[in-house]
């Protein structure tokens, strides 16, 4: 049994009291962390949606409903309204509705922040964003931003930054990408393919931050950690607490979130997993423990922060256009941070003693222990590192999607597993490669299948990989059964 190997002295069970104390410590820490946030909930920005605007003699309303190309409501999209009443923002609620109350009549410029609409969605008419509406007091004025394929093609000769209206879209798009029979909804255009490819690369890189930790933990302990998604949510939520409830600027609160996330990894191993390994609790049992943990943590999040989206930053990020691709500066920074951190992890694993020891433990724990490596010490490092990376991933993914929530990590968990399996369970660099592939698959599949089904495509890939090459892209071809 692998767990016995990991802990040579595993036959001695520590006193029950100590074990329970450790568990309590873990529970207390997490509760304390969350309690810090609770008092503010009452006065803080609880409601994910702006209160609906009611027009009266002194108030005019600008309203709209945002729906994706597939007709799903867009939640958490941010609109910026500038006009005589000043600079206002609105966020779309769970039904996609948003509204702004203005106290002066006049012309208002409404800008939909394209970074906050779901990845893969584009404005049908980008030229119409921002748009200007005339508002009268005592009335509601609609400002609609239809989403869908841009009504302009990015074929060969497209020189403008913004796709422009062109009746020959389909022909051009058809030349760029082979026409798929039964392709649904919005057409396939070169600009859209480029945008989705970039989105996929970004999403994949951010996903890699989360899945490398999952893979490292699996590699060193053999544990499929179903609670890893909650570590990702934790990062996002802690950043939200820092910026929105405590009022810190983004960067310090992100650093604190990552540090606290890493600390929870350390505490988890010290208070829960190490005692379980000492006790000789088997891998399957430990896996079911992670499931219980995942359920408990995610409902703790929901208990304190509600089920709505939580926006880490509320101001509108600026976008830049590179060729046909629009990307926000925040995302560019996130990408740079992710690349540096992943490079750092690679250096740690390949270039440092501790990293080599970690890989040795992953390779053969018994041999590693025999050559004087502290197996439990390495596992502690891996848990801390993995949880910290997950927290960073949670913050950056929260920024990328515009909002985090109690379920943001849980929804990504299966993509992480798909990425890790695709790359080879336990191979850290495999997780990186797998994540990028999964990111691309998820984004590009929305060219052909409805956007709300795109995560399913990644899961189909997971099943296919297991059918064809169970050890994954970079896994060793050993018998896995």
């Amino acid at each position: 049994m692998r767990s016995a190997v990991l802990d040579p002295g595993g036959t001695t069970t520590p006193p029950l009291a100590r074990r329970i104390a450790a568990l309590l410590l873990l529970a207390l820490t997490s509760i304390t962390l969350l309690l810090v946030a609770t008092p503010a909930r009452a006065q803080g920005p609880v409601a994910s949606a702006t209160a609906a605007c009611v027009a009266d003699a002194a108030t005019g309303c600008i309203v709209g409903t945002l729906r994706t190309a597939a007709g799903e409501p867009v939640v958490g999209a941010v609109l910026d309204v500038v006009g005589p009443a000043g600079d206002l923002t609105a966020t779309s609620d769970a039904t996609g509705r948003w509204s702004v109350a203005v106290t002066e009549a006049g012309e208002y410029e409404v800008t939909l922040d394209v970074a906050t609409i779901p990845a893969g969605e584009t404005l049908r008419d980008p030229a119409n964003n921002p748009r200007t509406v005339a508002v009268a007091l005592g009335a509601s004025q609609a400002a609609l931003f239809p989403l869908g394929a841009p009504a302009g093609g990015g074929g060969g000769g497209d020189t403008g930054d913004e796709p422009s209206d062109s009746p020959t879209t389909d022909a051009e798009g058809g030349a760029a990408v082979p026409e798929t029979p039964g392709s649904t909804g919005s057409g396939v255009t070169a600009a859209r393919v480029a945008q989705l490819t970039v989105n996929g690369l970004v999403f994949g890189t951010l996903l890699a931050l989360a899945s490398v930790g999952l893979s490292l933990i699996y590699g060193t302990t053999g544990l499929s950690n179903f609670a890893h998604g909650e570590q990702v949510s934790l990062g996002g939520i802690l950043a939200y607490v820092g910026t929105q409830l405590v009022g810190l600027p983004l960067i310090p609160s992100a650093i604190i979130a990552v540090a606290l996330g890493a600390a929870t990894g350390w505490l988890q191993d010290a208070g829960l997993w190490k005692p379980l390994r000492r006790r000789g609790v088997g891998m399957i049992q430990q896996m079911i423990v992670t499931i219980g943990l995942s359920m408990a943590i995610s409902y703790v999040f929901q208990f304190f922060f509600g089920a709505g989206p939580l926006r880490i930053v509320t101001d509108t990020p600026t976008s830049v256009s590179i060729g046909p691709v629009r990307i926000t500066t925040t995302t560019l920074w996130s990408l740079a941070i992710a690349a540096i951190v992943l490079g750092g992890v690679a250096f740690f694993l390949l270039g440092t003693r501790a990293g080599r020891a970690t890989r040795a433990v992953a390779d053969n724990p018994a041999l590693a222990a025999a050559s004087g490596i502290s197996v439990n010490g390495m596992i502690r490092i891996v848990w801390t590192l993995g949880a910290g990376l997950a927290a960073l991933g949670g913050v950056l993914i929260g920024l990328y999607f515009g909002a985090t929530s109690w379920y943001s990590g849980g929804a990504l968990l299966l993509l992480m597993f798909a990425a890790v399996t695709l790359g080879g369970l336990g191979a850290a660099f495999g997780a990186l490669a797998g994540s990028i592939v999964i990111g691309l698959v998820v984004e590009l599949s929305s060219l052909w299948i409805p956007t709300d089904m795109r995560y399913a495509s990644a899961l189909v890939i997971l099943i296919l990989v297991l059918l064809v090459r169970p050890q994954g892209i970079l896994g060793r071809a050993t018998r896995v059964g």
Binding site: I284, I288, I291, M295, Y299, V300, F417, D452, L466
Partner: protein, 328 residues
């Protein structure tokens, strides 16, 4: 605090249709995990498929028996698709694939592209597919009262669904009891304890695992039908959490036992009802909003699952020597 009301409600949970549905789903999972040692983390996917199969076939005008057959067929195909790539691999691959596949079913079901078929995220209303089941009842319409429990005879959350539900649960228990004693069941237990030993006896382990996966999945799909008959088919209410509840129920009652899943389901829902109703009465809504009480209940479930699997993996009825969870 009104203890009579709380206790009446809790006693109502003992034989509620939901309790029966979860007991049945846990019996299916027991065939996977308790008997064969398969880690199916997607039992809710089987249930959702069964529910969709039944509801869509009924809405299309098929008779009751045909709709049930559709549900069974859907679960069988689903089990085959899941089993072929994973049953030759290590146990946790099946766990990852089943949890992913259940999520696929949910994502596809709630996709707006299939609104005409599945009603997307708002699901299918119960009234659209209840009629054939209610018409099959031999009783006259009206309400019956048994002590403090008064329900309609046939409509919706009825005595009829309770009777059918618990009869099905009883039949499933009988089936498991017979299986455990049969040569077939002994092979499954052998696979659970030591796959290689069974293989060396010349048994086709892969095929036995597949049969177990299909059988448990079909029972899961019937549980899905039972679950949605008194309510609606709501893909989001049949996601990962549901699978985890079923696991908690199975481990609470005792895996590899005949009555474990039934006992587990009754205790699970009764305890949850006690906790929620008491909190609702005792704690003012200014401190805990009603949805927070709901979430508090689920936090308890998660912690209970952890504590159970660590300290008493055999559950209430199980035998620790009988179930070697770590054989794989």
């Amino acid at each position: 605090m009104d203890w009579t009301r709380i206790l009446t409600n809790v006693a109502g949970e003992f034989f509620a249709p939901t309790t029966a549905a979860y007991a049945l789903a846990a019996i299916g999972l027991n065939i996977h995990f308790g008997l064969t040692g398969l880690l199916n983390m997607g039992q809710a996917g089987f249930m959702l498929l069964g529910a969709y199969g039944f509801a869509i076939a009924t809405i299309a005008g098929w008779p009751l028996w045909a709709a049930v057959l559709i549900a069974i067929a859907a679960a069988t195909i689903f089990a085959l698709i899941l089993g072929i790539p994973t049953l030759k691999l290590r146990g946790d691959y099946l766990a990852i694939v089943t949890i992913a596949a259940a999520e696929i079913v949910r994502l596809v079901g709630r996709s707006t592209a299939l609104t005409e078929l599945t009603g997307a995220s708002s699901g299918l209303r119960g009234n659209q597919y209840k009629d054939t089941f209610q018409d099959a009842s031999p009783f006259d319409d009206g309400t019956w009262a048994l002590g403090p429990f008064e329900y309609a005879v046939n409509a919706s959350n009825s005595w009829w669904i309770r009777i059918v539900g618990w009869v099905v649960v009883a039949l499933a228990c009988l089936l498991v009891w017979l299986l455990i004693r049969s040569p077939w069941g002994r092979v499954l237990k052998g696979i659970r304890e030591d796959e290689d030993a069974v293989r060396s006896l010349g048994k086709n382990v892969y095929s036995y695992k597949m049969q177990a996966l299909v059988l448990g999945g079909v029972i899961g799909s019937l549980a899905g039908i039972l679950y949605v008959l008194p309510r609606a088919v709501q893909p989001d209410s049949m996601g990962r959490s549901m699978t985890f509840f079923i696991w908690t129920i199975l481990l609470l009652g005792g895996a590899a036992t005949v009555f474990g899943p039934v006992l587990g389901s009754i205790i699970f829902w009764a305890v949850l009802a006690i906790v929620k109703l008491t909190l609702r009465d005792v704690v003012p809504t200014t401190i805990l909003r009603s949805e927070q009480i709901e979430q508090f209940g689920w936090i308890i479930v998660g912690v209970a699952l952890m504590v159970l699997i660590i300290f008493r993996p055999q559950g209430i009825l199980g035998d620790k020597k009988e179930l070697a969870i770590n054989a794989h």
